[in-house]
Symmetry: C3
Amino acid sequence: MNHEKIWNDILKIRAKAPLIHNITNYVVMHSTANATLAVGASPVMAHAIEEVEEMVAISDALVINIGTLSKSWIDSMTRAIKIANARKIPVILDPVGAGATKLRTQTVRMFLKEYNIAILRGNASEIKSLCDETHKTKGVDSLAKSEDVIDYAKELSKRYNMTVSVSGSVDVILKDQKIIKVYNGVPIMSKVTGMGCMATAITGAFAAINADCFVAAAEAMAVVGIAGEIASQMSRGLGSMEINFLDTLYNINLNDIKERLKIELYDK
Amino acid sequence: MNHEKIWNDILKIRAKAPLIHNITNYVVMHSTANATLAVGASPVMAHAIEEVEEMVAISDALVINIGTLSKSWIDSMTRAIKIANARKIPVILDPVGAGATKLRTQTVRMFLKEYNIAILRGNASEIKSLCDETHKTKGVDSLAKSEDVIDYAKELSKRYNMTVSVSGSVDVILKDQKIIKVYNGVPIMSKVTGMGCMATAITGAFAAINADCFVAAAEAMAVVGIAGEIASQMSRGLGSMEINFLDTLYNINLNDIKERLKIELYDK
Amino acid sequence: MNHEKIWNDILKIRAKAPLIHNITNYVVMHSTANATLAVGASPVMAHAIEEVEEMVAISDALVINIGTLSKSWIDSMTRAIKIANARKIPVILDPVGAGATKLRTQTVRMFLKEYNIAILRGNASEIKSLCDETHKTKGVDSLAKSEDVIDYAKELSKRYNMTVSVSGSVDVILKDQKIIKVYNGVPIMSKVTGMGCMATAITGAFAAINADCFVAAAEAMAVVGIAGEIASQMSRGLGSMEINFLDTLYNINLNDIKERLKIELYDK
């Protein structure tokens, strides 16, 4: 993975405009739809149990985000994941708030045990709480650092044979023996509501056009971090930060990625 | 319909601030509320079956948008449409994603058959799929062009005695023997999530103060297109495009409309 | 209450980042989450009856907003308020649209009668309609002025032993014999969807770190008004107004408050 590979995958997204089916939370539906469009993919939101099957059937990736979970949505998510597994399109799961309530933690564990999740994409507290019963999440905010939860992420990755992508001041993406650390990004990104959810939606876009989910997940976090860096330079606060992030993502080019990409690959 | 007529109707909206009841999708609730306010009307969102009757009873138009449909919302939409028909206030229906799933296609057909819809406002794929069982919609994106579905729109308009307003690079609005084509607008508008839904909400505002729904629908699309053109000149991407669209709509004046309006009326 | 007290409370919010549990309406979830983050607190949205108890248990304030109410949400709100009362964390209630439908008016009355609400925060029509059965609200817009409903607000405050905070061109906050009038703010604020809901969310942040809910409510309205004034000077319309409001709130400093604070305290 290097800047040229990332750029080629962005061009692929823009050329193919893959359809990304999102069953996500109310808070971020609008911003994740725009983030998906900004990277060049096509979002659709559909949660009714009567229609998720047909919607997954025309989609290129499924993004599940439990940020405002409820029982009826769990049923729809479950059916959508089943169909996605049968169709072999990648499922990207954002365990928003896992560790804050049993409903969230147990729902994510159930998804991980029963179905094939291609990429688990959360913050450090969420990832840790899925292994360590005692660890708590402060609502949807992390109380841990991504680099401190690598062993938990490895454990989950191994147990469920999936890529784990942990966001933080350093993003950690891992699968099997491989780890990519992404050093791009700026602190204000954590102050914009739904920034993590946008990263997950964008991960869905990369996974839709790249069969290697480990690389797709890392590329997404790099692009998000780079767009965040550029956007922050023209932003006065979290309001303009979100708008500038979307604009920057929409306009990102090879040179932006080449100049800014800061990653390390560990392959033992 | 000319620039002075459009401007007078905007002044009417601003003076009366008609109440527009929206039962719409989660993705666009915030942006359509702001679009409704920007044109000078007053939005209210209410979907509980227990209160839709009372809310419709104080409203000047009802906007129904099926973008994130579910069974219980269909019940509320149905009741709201019934009351709106009884009160003779215009119902504007946006068939978001019709053609992508049976739930959406069949719900729209049921509304059209059972109730009086004043204006059907969708993209070309949605409109076509309501006539042609074999036509598909890519999630919420069109796979057809508005000018290629005029015969389908005419058929629907005739069958259900309503105005059909098809958005696209050229917007086509038709009723009976009359067609208005609106050439205003810019391509980036299709990249902003909910732009079509905002057009539908704004159509509701015009229909609330203009008894001629054909003219109201065309005026709305012209104003949306013109505001989009002006906004695009100061926008760097889809994030700022949405913000500038709202700002421009809020500030639009007679001169903007006079200088930019590009429409053709066909009356055979 | 003066500019130094307000500033100290902002510093407290920023230092502690209290967790604010919001059960709010779909339209404003995104903007109220951002407003909560902008003032320095940490928002969480959770409405499932299965998880509200645990979420309230880790929160520092509970914000209830009935803007898109439905039966199942009333159940979750009720359970959340019960737990918040048991834990003695403040409950802030925004009666959005009370006076427009019975569902809204009666739900708010039930909450007021059965539970301890620390701060009732609404517009003048909403407040009046809770006392006067004949008064109507135009959807979610006020048909009355805050200064004209002071007697109703006093009556509610006395009856339910709570602070009442009425937004308007002049904000009126009252409890017992004390009234604070806040003269900060600009008219365009009423044109931004969810501005009142953002004020309520910010009230939750102040109440989370200040045991005196009367002062907390007044501080919140002053900060909202001041941020609105500054933001309006750089805004072209309601779209940029919302973004600049969030940015300004994020950057607000002692000097902004000192220079602009315009309040009157009445203590009889």
